[in-house]
Symmetry: C2
Subunit: 350 residues, 2 copies
């Protein structure tokens, strides 16, 4: 294996954080594309050069472009550096004996067209059974989030009544299908009639409703959950959570995956939940989690969910935006309720 | 054993619910004393007549005198019937071979001077080691609440940073001492300087503060918890909970025992907690519980906590009001922050 021998220069584009923002949509005042010359053969011992194929676009990124003091997850992104995200790419140069040119790999690293990455931060992917982008969706952090959240935090039992918010989103689609596999009755809430139809007809949800056209959520929950709610998989926060709390059963579980309705604002402007007392009376559990805690379960998870995919028990959708310049559009679609399934930016053709 | 043979009539007074109330203090418009003639020898096969000595006075009762549709715990009390509470009394007539006149017993039954109770609903007490009222305090439902909440829900580890709200209350005093026994650093919040002093000097809390004179709770928590909060034992709800959520550490646990600040109002008028998102970022767990779930642990609990009491590791205080006519005064003192330790109504001298 040769490396460092000759320069092989290409144009590279990366997505750089130029300023933090606390509220409202993210624009190119905050995230900018920076172009530079890049030496494909420039990696050091142990590193590989990856030409990236796919970028995962996820709501939690919103927290990482707030002032460090305001962020809650991990560390915020650093100013004037590329942001990071789960990525999938193809090795185009290797200075690590564990990787060969042509290997398809995944890791959490800089959002750019080409990246030099430590081999130890990469995982080689089997692309015979699954396509590369699956490893950013049902078999990636999104899938692990859904799997850990509904199965390990939610602890579903056959017959449990399950509500999934943001059900047509990347995580929600998987959560609903996993809960169905475990014998639960599953209802999804989503932001359009088209999504509602899709959840019921394509993804096997027992029922679904459009939270934008339902003016009375309390009445909607009474209608869809005459027997109350055992598990609420929480993706949205705010008023939906408050409404749900008045419908929970004894020993209800509320895995807190995210609260997307609250991300574009300072917490002081967020909706205040007034009825947490329900958790006392109902011995309810509300538990936050982040996917990093479950990385050690990756193998078990891929085996289980990969199995369901091969058996056709889990379906999936992707919402693909093309080119690094489409990142902002893709990202902001997560907050407008426009996306279905896993939002991705495709950097190179398959 | 003879029973039913002769009438033995006495005056009896019982505390009857005459109307529900959603908001504000409870008065004699809601709870009234009803006097009647009572036949001490009037019990049927299997029952015993108890002359009651002590009534437990607890905040959760507030929920049970709301309209049934508004209540969260169990069933609400029924109109025109005596309310119920944990009681301790002495058997004065027995039609149950398991009980003899003079036995000291406890159970959850009607608040009255004399009560006829099924023997199966009573537990005989050992009054050699502990005094009868201890079985409504550290060795009763209050103690079990503290024990289950801090140990089973809170899962304290040595070195954990623990905040206890309503720390000078019946449950809080025990929670703080149990957390100390488990090797935690414990800070209490309470409603007077006298209580703060007492927590530190008498009950071994590492520190304590007066939430009424601290105008900036956020600053107070920064001061008392420079390393953040691992366990918040929640008795008060509302703004204190919100403030705490901005100070929790990764994997924080929040056992929800009660939310006393929220009991005297409709949930829609309650304080809205705006920063539950912290639970997501910190993988925090907030879990409600009620003592009834842990009744099966009674023996294990009495053994552990009774042991600590005999070793002098757990101290306790009682706030005693005398006579059934003092019940309302005792009950309302729970909400004004006036009480220290376990609030009791004494019906007969020891």
């Amino acid at each position: 294996m040769m490396y460092g021998s000759m320069e092989h220069m290409v144009k590279n584009r990366e997505l750089v954080l130029v300023s933090y923002t606390e509220e409202g949509p993210v624009t190119d005042d905050h995230l900018k594309i920076r172009e530079s010359n890049f030496n494909i053969n420039g990696c050091k011992e142990g590193e590989v050069t990856v030409q990236n194929m796919w970028v995962s676009v996820d709501p939690y990124i919103r927290w990482l472009i707030k002032e460090p003091a305001r962020a809650l997850y991990f560390d915020t992104f650093k100013l004037n550096e590329p942001i990071t995200s789960p990525m999938v790419g193809k090795v185009v140069f290797s200075a690590n004996s564990g990787f060969e040119v042509g290997d398809v790999v995944t890791g959490m690293y800089q959002v750019s067209e080409y990246t030099i990455v430590e081999g130890s931060a990469l995982r080689k992917l089997d692309t015979n059974l699954f396509k590369p982008s699956d490893y950013l969706g049902p078999l990636g952090t999104v899938g692990l989030t859904a799997w850990a959240g509904i199965l390990l935090v939610g602890e579903p039992k056959p017959g449990d009544e399950v509500l999934v918010s943001a059900a047509a989103g990347a995580v929600g689609l998987l959560v609903g299908q996993l809960a169905k596999i475990k014998g639960c009755r599953v209802v999804g809430s989503a932001g359009s009639d088209q999504k509602v139809k899709m959840l019921k007809e394509e993804f096997g949800f027992d029922d679904a409703f459009n939270y934008k056209t339902q003016t009375d959520w309390d009445a909607a929950l009474s209608k869809y959950f005459p027997k109350g709610i055992d598990i609420y998989f929480e993706n949205v926060g705010g008023k939906m959570l408050e409404t749900v709390l008045n419908h929970i059963n004894m020993k209800a579980r509320i895995p807190l995956c995210g609260m997307i309705s609250q991300y574009n604002q300072d917490w002081k402007e967020s909706y205040g939940v007034r009825n947490l007392i329900n958790l006392v009376g109902k011995s309810g559990k509300m538990q936050g989690f982040t996917v990093v805690e479950y990385f050690h379960c990756m193998e078990e998870f891929v085996k289980e969910v990969g199995g369901y995919m091969q058996q056709g028990k889990i379906k999936y959708r992707e919402d693909v935006h093309v080119g690094i310049e489409s990142f902002l559009e893709a990202f902001n679609s997560l907050f407008s309720g426009g996306n279905i399934g896993k939002t991705l930016v495709q950097l190179t053709p398959k």
